[in-house]
């Protein structure tokens, strides 16, 4: 009998094209997602070397990072962004790559678009010049972010040179309490292990709390694997996965579907397979989480006080807490609950899908956001936008006083004019609270859509459980 393997190992083994002594493996890439920010220099590299795109049929592009979220009838005002978006479209045309561009009805944040079109499938290798590519791991794919040189490598050869990763089991057992979401699971994990805790590893999320999550919730968890330092994070496929994929545009059809599901059922980790590392999280004891500092590992349960620098384990960590509190203008030992906020952002590849918008709408329905808070709701894709509008969610948001915008990365990365002013506080459903991430001098509290919506109403950081 062969040695039991993890799903991580199986997907790896299935994609090794060549492996020479002393060199990394050539790993075949099944799906390459391309966007405007990290690709222009890669296409230029192809031109300089006279290379073509090897597999346009395994490549797809969209615009998400640089584009405005104002109505699509308006032009892209920023000339530099407009040039970048136009460059993506001309590069795709020149190299024969399908592109769901600015005016496409399928445009969306690349990690929202791929799954909703059925492009992301179990057992695949998926890459994109974006660190949140681990999102696709929710389907049991090995999905990771790459730099622009590697974007060029994959365009030219459909392969990457890769060193194997360590396997890191993240077991989450139990049942989430009301008001506690997938976002809180991942924020709690990162708070436990720190933002470098998963370096050189791939997470496999498993356990009863994981298998009971919907696909959209699984995407939220996998999305932030990079925030724990991991190269990727994935969840073994199951019936929830197959049900989500079935019938989607690029999913296998008919007999090919049956064959695919049979193949996918072989993927889950074998009984007795060993992991390099493991951690267990008790879902029953989780509370809504929120970050207080300037990296995603600086997170606390929402009822807890902000740590003081003494909580650091050594001088450097104490110093980094001090620096973070200074940047955030927060005092250690004080609660975050009730801290005033200026902006609430509901969106990003972490939390901009239908279930996120439905959760936020359930809180906002029949209520008003505080007049002191600008509340932005940015759907993850044109498809999400259409579906939300069909359900009337946009009316709920507008009636509550929130903005309902066009799809894109928006204030998660603040490249497109959607940004905080210096000193402003934002409760954000995005994935990074680094200094200046949402605009120079802006201050970010990462939290779930439920916490964000409750905070918008209260005008300050709120515990959603008090209004459920």
């Amino acid at each position: 009998m062969s040695k039991p393997r993890t799903i991580i190992q199986k997907v790896w083994d299935n994609h090794v094209v060549a492996q020479q002594e002393g060199a990394p493996a050539l790993l075949y890439i099944d799906l390459h997602l391309v966007h405007e920010v990290t690709s222009p220099q890669a296409f230029e590299g192809l031109r300089q070397r006279g290379l073509k795109v090897r597999q346009p049929s395994r490549t797809i592009a969209t615009t998400d990072h640089s584009i405005p979220t104002t109505p699509r009838s308006l032009p892209i005002v920023d000339p530099i962004a407009a040039t970048q978006v136009a460059k993506l479209e001309s590069n795709c045309k020149e190299f024969g790559i399908p592109c769901f561009g600015f005016h496409s009805e399928n445009q969306g944040i690349v990690h929202v678009m791929g799954p909703e079109l059925g492009l992301t499938q179990p057992g695949m290798t998926v890459v994109c010049g974006d660190s949140h590519t681990a999102t696709h791991g929710a389907f049991g794919a090995l999905a990771f972010g790459i730099g622009t040189s590697q974007v060029e490598h994959v365009l030219a050869t459909q392969c990457l040179l890769q060193q194997p990763s360590q396997s890191y089991e993240v077991r989450v057992d139990g049942v989430l309490k009301p008001g506690v979401t997938a976002k809180d699971i991942i924020l709690a994990l990162i708070a436990r292990i720190g933002i470098g805790g998963g370096t050189a590893s791939v997470f496999e999320y498993r356990g009863t709390a994981i298998s009971s999550l919907s696909m959209e919730e699984r995407m939220t968890v996998c999305n932030m694997s990079i925030e724990g330092g991991a190269r990727a994070g994935l969840i073994a496929p199951d019936d929830t996965t197959y049900e989500y994929i079935h019938g989607r545009r690029f999913a296998p059809q008919g007999e090919a579907w049956d064959a695919a599901v049979a193949r996918w059922r072989m993927l889950p980790t074998d009984e007795g397979a060993a992991y390099d590392k493991s951690i267990v999280i008790d879902a029953n004891s989780l509370e809504p989480m929120i970050t207080y500092g300037t990296n995603p590992g600086m997170g606390i349960a929402i009822s807890q006080p902000v740590p003081t620098p003494d909580a650091g384990k050594d001088a450097i960590e104490r110093d980094s807490i001090r620096k973070a509190l200074d940047y955030m203008a927060l005092e250690g030992g004080k609660p975050l609950l009730g801290h005033p906020v200026n902006v609430v952002f509901i969106g990003s590849c972490t939390n901009s899908r239908m279930s996120d918008l439905r959760q936020a709408a359930a809180i906002l329905k029949g209520r008003k956001v505080s007049p002191s808070v600008r509340t932005m709701v940015v759907p993850g894709s044109q498809e999400v936008k259409r579906q939300a509008e069909a359900e009337g969610l946009h009316e709920v948001f507008r009636a509550a006083g929130a903005e309902w915008r066009e799809a894109g990365c928006s204030m998660c990365i603040a490249m497109n004019g959607d940004q905080l002013a210096p000193g402003e506080y934002c409760v954000s459903t995005s994935n990074r609270n680094f200094e200046g991430r949402q605009g120079k001098g802006g201050r970010t509290f990462l939290a779930s859509p439920l916490t964000a919506a409750a905070s918008a109403i209260q005008g300050s950081i709120a515990d959603v459980r008090s209004i459920l």
Binding site: G22, L161, T199
Partner: protein, 203 residues
């Protein structure tokens, strides 16, 4: 790619853990379609005042930054976004190597592809170098990639890890794409064996 063999330089200290790529080069500068001109905005938000004038207290603005090619940084350098603009900005400023106790995976890979050497040193050596640099802004260290050694100011040598393939590429100034392209026949054979394929065309 420019070969990397040996390097002797003064060191510039940034004693901060978890320096993320949003600090190295903020996202608002990623709208460019070129690799060039990023050095001006390296560490932009730490380096300039609101009005664009330089902050005198930031290390890159101090006279000893001129000509220094080695950055000494806190743990988990380069975490966050996958932007290769980070190593582009660092190399355009003049850095050829970064010393730290650990690097984030994507940054490390991107740096190696741009002839920027990430040198992993122990926590003790890192602290010692920060202390030495604090006493003397002129201290120099030497890196020899062939022997994988870092020579400290007092002449002691410490070894550092580099995977053999990256080392070969750096020493010879060759990039990975050439190696990948040479495997065309194996890639084609692998593709032919696959029972299923994705087709994004006709989209």
């Amino acid at each position: 790619m420019i070969p990397f063999t040996t390097l002797t330089s003064r060191i510039l200290p940034l004693p901060i853990d978890n320096i993320d790529t949003d600090q190295i080069i903020p996202a608002r500068f990623l709208k460019t379609i070129s690799k060039e001109g990023l050095d001006r905005n390296l560490f932009c938000d730490w380096r300039y005042h609101e009005d664009g004038s330089e902050r005198a207290d930031f290390i890159l603005n101090q006279p000893e930054a001129q000509g220094a090619q080695i950055l000494l940084a806190g743990d988990n350098f380069g975490c966050g976004s996958s932007r290769e603009h980070a190593p582009w900005a660092l190399t355009q400023f003049g850095f050829r190597a970064i010393l730290s106790s650990s690097f984030a995976d994507i940054f490390r890979g991107n740096a190696l592809k741009n002839s920027l050497l990430p040198v992993v040193i122990s926590e003790d050596v890192k602290q010692e170098l920060f202390a030495l640099r604090q006493k003397d802004a002129g201290v120099e260290v030497s890196i020899d990639l062939e022997s994988q050694t870092l020579t400290l100011p007092d002449g002691r040598q410490v070894e550092f890890p580099v995977d053999p393939f990256s080392k070969y590429c750096l020493l010879n100034g060759v990039d990975e794409l050439g190696y990948l392209v040479k495997h065309e026949a194996e890639i084609a054979a692998w593709e032919a064996r696959q029972p299923w394929a994705l087709n994004t065309l006709g989209a």
